[in-house]
């Protein structure tokens, strides 16, 4: 998730502390707390599946790229860094498949890209 979850949670913690103090204009307090609640709702939905999603996605992209290997370190930050590396490589491979007219590989990449959006989908999103 971008921005990263730990930095968002730290920011929300500070925001809640500031809003617990007197003197915050009511409309600004309402806006801050309402938005914080919406962010926490998104987090509650995404939390349990994050590591699974990244492992699954990394495995699928390695297969498309012809890479071997697996995710041994399951820290979210490590999985995300590997996901970034693989998705950057996938962009290059997709562009090359287009240049070479390799429609079979293009179709496989498109199918995986559609699958990534299913994995990352949140229930309140408009699409």
């Amino acid at each position: 998730m971008n921005p990263q979850v730990p930095s968002v949670l730290l920011e929300l913690a500070g925001l809640l502390q500031r809003n617990a103090m007197p003197g915050v204009p009511p409309a600004e307090r309402a806006s801050d707390l309402g938005l914080s609640a919406m962010l926490l709702t998104v987090l509650a939905e995404a939390w349990d599946g994050q590591a699974h999603m990244l492992v699954e996605e990394n495995r699928a992209i390695r297969a498309l790229l012809g890479e071997t290997g697996a995710d041994a370190d399951l820290h979210l930050s490590v999985l995300q860094a590997e996901n970034n590396r693989l998705r950057a490589a996938l962009i290059d491979r997709h562009a090359r498949a287009e240049a070479e007219g390799d429609t079979a590989l293009q179709d496989r990449i498109w199918a995986e890209l559609a699958a990534t959006t299913e994995r990352r989908r949140i229930s309140t999103a408009p699409v």
Partner: protein, 340 residues
């Protein structure tokens, strides 16, 4: 308790209204939302020529860092270009481009009070008949924007050639994505490659482009009338199909599939716009502009995250568009490209 901005706004306006006496500002409060500007409403009271006056006003101030970087003057002049025309907009009153008065540049405008902008409130309460009337007004007004004289903005924004409108916009948003993307965006990159390989025809005319014309950026009433078109901060000159494409891009269905802007079918919206503008929406060109606007949307959501990540603006409003819309925008791109 009075908002700390009240005396500063009052001092500024006292300097701008030499005929006013006993000037005071009260009821100043921030309006929720708005990731590109801080928006406040307030009441100004003063005496002039022996008569007591009261006027409700809006203050739009730059935040420390925004999800989009735009010029205050462009937004101000875009509003002024349409004031008193068939495109309803609030009257602009004062523009301040320095930081001295309120810490950041800002403008002050009249408040068009008593109406709603929230899409969620609209879809929760309005009947299909009201949504239909709103759709008629929404795309009629967009047609009026498309056919309006563009010359009021030529001194404040670049004037692209008719066959260069698309490259100017695509170059701009791709550069922002290059700068701001914290993670690789393979769907967006594929969309950009397709857009460059399949350029649209030259614009039919050069128009003022609102830049963010969607449900949520106008004030409506319960009968389906529109009383004010807001949020002109991304206004520029370009292809009128750009605005139509933004209004039709899938994230603005608000989860109401098949309804442009959550209001009516896409064919109905296009027909209303064509009738009002006198222009044609060539299907292939419109497809290009809808996909482009998906890329532009992604640029905005990624930029919002970047403003947070860099520490320039740590407000929660900078996080929510990124978490809520980056994946949805990817899905919208897949949908437009026939891959979902």
């Amino acid at each position: 308790m009075a908002h700390p901005l009240e005396p500063r706004v009052a001092a500024y306006l006292a300097g701008r209204m030499p005929g006013a006496a006993d000037l005071s500002v009260d009821s100043l409060e921030r309006i929720s939302g708005g990731a590109s500007r801080e928006t406040y409403r307030f009441r100004l009271s003063w005496t002039e020529g022996g008569a007591a006056r009261v006027r409700r006003m809006i203050l739009r101030r730059d935040p420390p860092a925004s999800l989009i970087d735009t010029e205050r003057r462009v937004e101000f002049e875009a509003y002024r270009a349409f004031h008193g025309t068939a495109v309803p907009v609030p009257e602009m009153l004062h523009l301040e481009e320095g930081d001295e008065a309120l810490g950041h540049p800002f403008f002050i405008a009249e408040e068009i009070a008593g109406f709603q902008a929230s899409p969620q409130m609209l879809f929760a309460a309005a009947s299909d008949a009201v949504l239909g009337r709103l759709a008629e007004r929404k795309w009629t007004i967009l047609g009026e924007i498309a056919k309006a004289d563009h010359t009021p903005l030529v001194d404040v924004v670049p004037t692209p050639p008719l066959d260069g409108c698309w490259t100017r916009e695509l170059d701009h948003w791709e550069a922002l994505i290059d700068k701001d993307a914290a993670e690789p965006v393979p769907i967006t990159r594929a969309a950009i490659r397709w857009l460059r390989a399949n350029p649209p025809p030259p614009a039919q005319r050069l128009s003022i482009v609102h830049g963010d014309y969607r449900t949520g950026n106008f004030l409506y009433d319960a009968e389906g009338e529109i009383h004010g078109v807001l949020d002109w901060e991304m206004a520029h000159l370009g292809d009128p199909l750009e605005d139509l494409g933004w209004s039709l891009q899938p994230v603005w269905t608000f989860g109401r599939p098949g309804r442009a802007g959550g209001l009516c079918s896409r064919d109905q919206a296009v027909a209303i716009w064509e009738r009002a503008s006198g222009l044609k929406a060539d299907p292939a060109a419109l497809h290009w502009w809808i996909l482009f606007n998906c890329v532009k949307g992604q640029g905005i959501w990624i930029g919002s995250a970047a403003a947070f990540n860099r520490g320039g603006n740590r407000a929660p409003i900078m996080i929510y568009p990124a978490w809520w819309l980056i994946n949805a925008q990817d899905r919208a791109m897949l949908q437009v490209m026939g891959r979902l």
